[in-house]
């Protein structure tokens, strides 16, 4: 069919014949249908909501139980950073030179000293969340960590408590100052190889 034929066909077409009542009721019929669709979309039937919530709670409990009781996955990089396996590997590879291991959006990378001049202090695990930026840093007591535009000293005490100290900046589990509102910090001392970390209770 060529273009003039299509044009002739369209020009000859007519609207389907409807009774006048149809057009009179058309607007209210459309409004009723839209209202019904809206109710259906936003307010599920009560029994469906209950079943969904119960299923979600059950799944949550199962996942929580699994996370609580799981053993560190041999290949899980986060666990390997946190329990010191990565640290020990890299320390063996670069004795006295490893300052920090950093896991961020670019992947995992290390900070190495040119010389073997890094003291063998207690290792520390840090998780730093700043908005969407999430970093894990494994370093040692007495080393510096970059926080935005400033360097902050990482220190751990005899009891394994970690503190971060800088110019106008302090963070510990008990008290903090100078932190941006979006900044969230978690820190703990990495246990020695003989004293592996036990799973913490979920609450």
């Amino acid at each position: 069919m060529n273009e003039p034929d299509v044009d002739t066909l369209l020009r000859g077409a007519r609207l389907p014949q409807r009774p006048d009542e149809y057009w009179d009721e058309f607007p209210s019929r459309v409004i009723r249908r839209l209202q019904a669709e809206k109710r259906g979309a936003t307010r599920p039937r009560p029994w469906r909501l209950g079943v969904s919530l119960a299923a979600a709670a059950a799944c949550g409990l199962v996942v929580g139980f699994v996370i609580w009781h799981r053993r560190p996955a041999p290949g899980g990089i986060q666990d390997a950073l946190r329990d010191g396996r990565v640290l020990r590997e890299l320390q063996a590879q670069y004795p006295g030179r490893l300052r920090a291991i950093i896991q961020d959006e670019k992947g995992m990378h290390t900070q190495l000293s040119d010389l073997a001049d890094v003291a063998a202090s207690d290792p520390v695990w840090l998780e730093i969340r700043d908005g969407s930026d999430d970093r894990v840093v494994v370093t040692f007591s007495g080393q510096l960590v970059r926080f935005g535009s400033r360097d902050v000293m990482v220190l751990s005490d005899l009891g394994g408590q970690v503190m971060l100290v800088g110019d106008g900046f302090f963070w510990s589990h008990q008290v903090s100052t100078g932190l941006a509102r979006t900044l969230q910090i978690r820190a703990e001392q990495i246990p020695s190889a003989q004293n592996q970390r036990k799973p913490a209770p979920p609450f």
Binding site: A119, D157, L158, V175
Partner: protein, 309 residues
């Protein structure tokens, strides 16, 4: 302010010269602390870091078997914001004759005061941290005393020495009971490091705890008609017990001092305290070595001895 800071430095320098001799074993060298601007503004001083280091050195020297060393010329090269290499720590330790090196930072965190310290082994470079925290009513002398004990424990661990417990000292007043015609004569502690003792005359026999180390104690004498006072600097030894003593001849000022209860020997000079009948402004605390620390606790001004009734 400068005058007070100078007095502080002079008093501590004198005390340090007299007591901080080096001995074999665990020796700590304390470097100047760094004070954040808001901390110094809060206390109205420019030398808080230096003063805290001096006070800490003195307190550490009192914690046997530790000894504290004067830093001498080796002040540079141990910046708090720079990690120290083991070889550098060893070099500095050798130069100072110290087994541990200490520095730190003073900060204000909200309503808290935080003093954080870094303790580095001069033999291995192994580094620990520790901190103390107080609210604005906590005497700085107590915070630094507490910090010295924590640093002491770290240095003992770093040097493989068994842990030692350093308990607090205490101090009480003295009272000579009066007769039907005369009032009791009381010499008591009125104020410790800017912290006033409530109803000090009535509570003269109540033991006041002192953390080991330097403290400024204001002593009050009262006999029902006249009152006098004097400020003393005392070096409280761990576990020691002290008492306030006085002596007064007829028609003369009372002589006040503090002595060790065990040895019955004075641990301060014997000070002639002038008697005042009316409200007596005590300038000693505000002008004393802790004045710039304690001043902020005293509200609108120095303490006032209540007038004799």
């Amino acid at each position: 302010m400068k005058t007070r800071s100078c007095v502080f430095s002079v008093v501590l320098a004198g005390l340090l010269a007299g007591s901080c001799s080096a001995s074999e074993g665990v020796t700590v060298s304390v470097f100047d602390f760094q004070a954040d601007g808001n901390f110094e503004a809060f206390f109205g001083t420019e030398n808080a870091g230096k003063s805290a280091a001096s006070l800490l050195t003195y307190d550490l020297s009192d914690l046997a078997p530790l000894s504290a060393k004067d830093r001498g010329p080796v002040q540079e090269g141990f910046d708090f914001d720079v990690p120290i290499a083991p070889a550098e720590a060893e070099r500095m330790g050798r130069a100072l004759g110290a087994t541990s090196l200490v520095n730190g930072r003073l900060l204000r965190a909200g309503t808290s005061i935080v003093i954080a310290a870094r303790v580095v082994s001069a033999e291995t470079g192994r580094t620990y941290g520790t901190m103390v925290r107080g609210d604005p009513s906590t005497p700085i002398a107590d915070l630094i005393s507490q910090l010295s004990i924590q640093i002491g424990k770290i240095t003992l661990v770093q040097n493989g020495v068994n842990s030692v417990s350093w308990g607090p000292a205490d101090i009480v007043g003295t009272c000579k009971p009066g007769s039907l015609l005369s009032h009791d004569e009381v010499a008591c502690v009125m104020d410790i490091d800017g912290r006033a003792i409530p109803d000090e005359v009535k509570n003269w026999s109540q033991k006041q705890q002192l953390q080991p180390g330097l403290h400024e104690i204001f002593i009050r004498y009262y006999d029902g008609t006249s009152t006098a006072g004097h400020s003393f600097i005392i070096n409280a030894s761990p576990g020691a017990s002290y008492e306030v003593r006085y002596e007064r001849q007829p028609n003369s000022n009372p002589v006040l001092w503090i002595q060790d209860r065990l040895s019955q020997q004075p641990v301060t000079k014997m000070a002639n305290a002038s008697v005042g009948g009316g409200p007596h402004i005590i300038k000693n605390i505000d002008e004393g070595p802790f004045g710039w620390f304690s001043g902020q606790y005293l509200g609108s001004g120095p303490p006032v001895v209540p007038p004799a009734k």
